[in-house]
Symmetry: C2
Subunit: 208 residues, 2 copies
């Protein structure tokens, strides 16, 4: 069982929170608008609690369920309140036409977060390749990037507890490519796959 | 049935050529070292022919089965001999430690090829996310990027003929992210998956 705090009260917070409550995890919700956090905690049930925006999160794993351009600013705002926490960035920094990354650099939101995170915080990229509808109803692979092995082990335990397969792809620089895989996933939905009920996964090979 | 020319005589040329011959495709091999091309054609069998390096390829689809830093130079060398051909770049421009792209820019080998390709040539990125051993024995998804829809349709037909699933991910700028997925695939092999008998694919979602 894991102890998580969701920063944000939107669709992804609800989706991850729902699975976490179902898995028996301890879930805390923090929203800048406290009433929305309370509303989400009520929807989640399972003893989900509400924390004060900006205060030290109760969860060991803090999931920033925010729009991509809000993630690093919120980590700056929280500052030392996130010391020693595991920060999980799930964002997709798409540009307006969903065909390139908005930051246009050889970086990622997760790496930007690592640059501003307080002492002891460890940053993980995860979940971003999975459409919300898939996370709601499926068992997709969850690709995880990060530099701290212990943090990856903890997040992997959380992911496995949700009934999903965690797959470590390597260090935090790989977050850039996971964000690119988010773009490829959208590209597949709009082109070769033609629908949104799929996720990229690592498929074992059987003989042809 | 497709008509392909393989530029190169290495492992990937042999692997793709073997599947193509088995599928009944017309296969031509071109190598800078003609004796190696003749050797590969003999190994492939199925009436595989040998072309002269630098001459107009017999195949409609020209697969550059070359190391990444050789692809654009060879396209420059062939020049107008590739006019109106479909050029399929399958390369992975990994750096020496296999954790970043060697070109370090917001581009891809496929896009570099498109910059130097002759009139009428259409460039496609495909196959690069698939380990050779998987391409030998499995039925992996083949991600395809390119700007020309007709060329993508032809390459998709070739891929489907090999018994693999072609999946269009979008325009040629997506080649950058497919090259990144090559890195992620290596990262998975070295980390979360722990072996090389898998490929990234688009997995349909069933209810959890």
């Amino acid at each position: 069982m894991s102890s998580i705090t969701l920063l944000g009260t939107g669709n992804m917070a609800r989706t991850i929170g729902t699975r976490a409550v179902a898995a028996g995890d301890t879930v805390e919700v923090m929203g800048r608008d406290r009433s929305r956090a309370e509303q989400l905690a009520t929807v989640l049930g399972g003893g989900a609690s509400v924390g004060t925006w900006g205060a030290v999160p109760a969860g060991d794993i803090v999931i920033t369920a925010l729009l991509h351009d809000g993630v690093a600013p919120v980590v700056v705002e929280y500052a030392d309140a996130l010391a020693d926490k595991i920060i999980v960035d799930i964002s997709n920094p798409f540009n307006a036409s969903f065909d390139a990354l908005a930051h246009g650099e050889e970086t990622s939101i997760a790496q930007k977060v690592a640059e501003v995170a307080p002492a002891g915080a460890r940053v993980i990229k995860a979940f971003n390749t999975i459409f919300r509808n898939v996370l709601e109803k499926g068992r997709p692979d969850v690709f995880i990037a990060g530099d701290d092995q212990q943090a990856k082990t903890e997040v992997s335990g959380f992911v496995a507890g949700l009934g999903l397969r965690p797959l470590d792809v390597g260090g935090l620089t790989m977050a850039h490519w996971l964000e690119g895989m988010g773009l490829v996933t959208v590209g597949l939905a709009n082109n070769g796959v033609g629908h949104w009920d799929f996720a990229l996964g690592a498929d074992e090979v059987s003989a042809a």
